[in-house]
């Protein structure tokens, strides 16, 4: 460096740390690019030599197999492309429900573990330590067998009040079918939600200005619930139910929840909740005790202290690891293949791959889809994280 400063002799390029670092990085990039190119061209060449079909032409071919749960119309004459969407939606369905329930259960367990009640805290601790230390696949197989073995066979179905059935073929519920006139209910619901949002903002401003809180929760609930219910009643209850009916082998009609779905959802929720509980506990413990004491000294009761002081600060610690738990849950849903739930991996990377034999294309698509789901999830969570993050003023 001294040489540079005096300007007498320039440092040779190979001894300049910056230039050398740059050179190494360029070299590394070139190497990686070369390996990627070599791997791809090698694969293409080998596929061609073995005369294995390649490309994405299979997408529009007839699939020819049946799928047990389809959220969009699908039949055995549909295409592989259609089967892909069916599988993707099934994955998103179980992941979506899984995330919601795992969050609720995880927060409850996490808070319970910090409870001053000895028994509650120990039970929550026992739950966390047991569940998160057992392999998920094992747990899924356990739940699947537990679901199948405990539920009665078809002809001894448990009747659920209101016209539903529960047996080892699944849970069957009446499906509401909306008639004309039901639109008013949705209009009323939309108006109610808009009004509730307005009141919420107004109440917040008023509290900031005068310090008087409004019993906001009940007011908001009434605003959201009452108008649609009133509209529903005024338009003469425009709904009818499609009741499940017992046939010779199976129950047809109504909403059908597969035992595979129940077992997978159960397994994923229980497993992920154990991790979320630890994340929540860590988040709450990360809030300095002085914050609680300060809130108490201002006269806040324990409930509002938790809600207004502790949780908002804990969220900053909780959200980033919570995001990874959501991603884990989504990725773990691919274990569905073991218990016969028709998710993306089972349908697309399983049956479609096997029938078309196009492993490279099918696996590439499947990985791209999981990557996309994960990136979207983590993008949304990052947005939320920015919202709760510490704003320095």
């Amino acid at each position: 460096m001294a040489a540079v400063e005096t300007g007498k002799a320039k440092t040779p390029l190979w001894r300049d740390a910056k230039a050398r670092g740059l050179a190494y990085q360029v070299l590394l990039c070139l190497l990686i690019a070369f390996f990627a190119w070599a791997a791809i061209s090698n694969a293409v060449e080998n596929l061609a030599r073995a005369k294995i079909a390649s490309g994405f032409g299979f997408w529009d071919n007839t699939a020819g197999f049946d799928i047990s749960q389809t959220l969009i119309p699908y039949s055995t004459t549909s295409t592989y492309g259609r089967a892909f969407w069916v599988g993707l939606l099934n994955t998103l369905l179980v992941a979506g429900f899984g995330i919601v329930f795992a969050t609720i259960l995880g927060f409850l367990i996490g808070i319970a573990r910090l409870s001053r009640n000895w028994l509650v805290a120990r039970l929550a601790g026992f739950y966390v330590e047991t569940i998160r230390n057992l392999p998920l696949l094992l747990q899924l197989l356990f739940w699947y067998n537990a679901v199948l073995k405990t539920l009665p066979p078809l002809h001894e179905s448990l009747a659920i009040p209101g016209g539903g059935f529960l047996n080892n073929r699944g849970l069957f519920l009446p499906q509401p079918v909306l008639l004309s006139g039901a639109d008013w209910t949705f209009v009323a619901l939309a108006m109610g939600v808009a009004a509730a949002v307005g009141v919420r903002i107004w109440a917040g401003r008023r509290r900031a200005r005068t310090g008087t809180p409004l019993p906001a929760f009940w007011v908001l609930l009434a605003l959201v619930m009452v108008p649609p219910l009133a509209a529903f009643a005024l338009s003469g209850f425009p709904v009818t139910f499609n009741f499940p009916e017992s046939g010779r082998f199976n129950i047809r009609g109504g909403i059908e929840v597969l035992p595979e779905f129940m077992a997978l959802l159960f397994g994923l929720v229980i497993y992920t909740a154990a991790f979320i509980a630890e994340v929540v506990r860590a988040g709450i413990l990360a809030v300095a005790k002085g914050q609680t004491e300060a809130a108490y000294s201002l006269g806040l009761k324990p409930g509002p202290t938790l809600r207004l002081v502790v949780v908002p600060q804990a969220m900053r610690v909780i959200v980033p690891p919570l995001t990874s738990q959501y991603l884990n849950l989504t990725k773990n849903s691919s274990l569905a293949v073991a218990i016969g739930y028709p998710d993306l991996v089972q349908i697309f990377a399983g049956t479609v791959l096997n029938q078309t034999g196009q492993a490279v294309e099918v696996i590439a698509i499947t990985m791209a889809v999981y990557l996309a789901i994960s990136l979207v999830t983590s993008g949304l969570m990052n947005l939320y994280n920015r919202h709760v993050a510490l704003v320095e003023r």
């Binding site: 590394l28 190497l31 090698n42 596929l47 005369k51 049946d66 791959l353």
Partner: protein, 343 residues
Amino acid sequence: MKSVMVRIALAATLGAATFAVTASATSAQTLETVKARGTINCGANGTLAGFGLPDGQGRWTGLDVDFCRALAAAIFNDPNKVKFVPLTAKDRFTALQSGEIDVLARNTTWTSSRDTALGLNFAAVNYYDGQGFMVRKSLKLNSALELNDAAVCVQQGTTTELNLADYFRTNKMKLKTVTFATADEAVKAYDAGRCDAYTTDASALAGERLRLAQADDHAVLPEIISKEPLAPAVRHGDDQWFDIVKWTHFAMVNAEELGITKANVDDQMKSDNPDVKRLLGTEGKFGEAFGLTNDWAYRIVKHVGNYGEVFERNVGQGSPLKIARGLNALWNKGGLQFAPPVR
């Protein structure tokens, strides 16, 4: 800087390893590779009684297993120079395409798309099969046509899955398929009452039924809804290896037809019958044309037996399955097993 160097070195080694693997995968010289390695990598079932199943001592048995042993006998004069790789229905083709195995003998149905688009060559049908249904006797069913609206458990990645959908569609019946990755899971779910019926190849139904908790409560329906020619397969692009695999089966069938058995093969070496002499290599140089020794077929029969012996031992009267020869009898005994002549 040091860490960068380490990383480059690591990347280079990893890359080289990847190359080594992919390069060997597509070698057209399977026979040379196998000889150099000293064992055949044989893709087998692993969970199917009668076709491919390791016993309590870890010794593999089955019709397809014996096929690979025959191949090893022909090449190495030692039926034990086989490494069995257990594969699920779903993974089997990828394993063969990628070169993880040299031959796939895993009760695999020969179809046109597998023969073409999947890049496989099917050697010869070593078991003629068809798809059937197993149901509970308590349902009092006489025919698969009464299965309208039934839930059916099935293994994924099989022709079974497609035949099932076709059969129900053709007969205008409603179907609920519950698909599992392995036959084990599918059978377990059927046993637990998740499905009304379990469907797979008829030969496998016989074996799976014996594994149920109460085998006598279940029956196999009379309908056979498909043609399932089960055949060992190899990759495209190596004609020599394809020929060897193909003729391993033909040698066993020809041996049965000529009355050559494991017990009498040494006596048959002195036979004057020209067909026997050509097969056992006491006349002509037919083995060398394959890249093997001239006594290749002798080795197969000596170590493994002829097709009839292998059949009876694994799935026929000498096994718990007690499957009749049926379509798998020799052509001159009312069956379909017909091998081209060695000459």
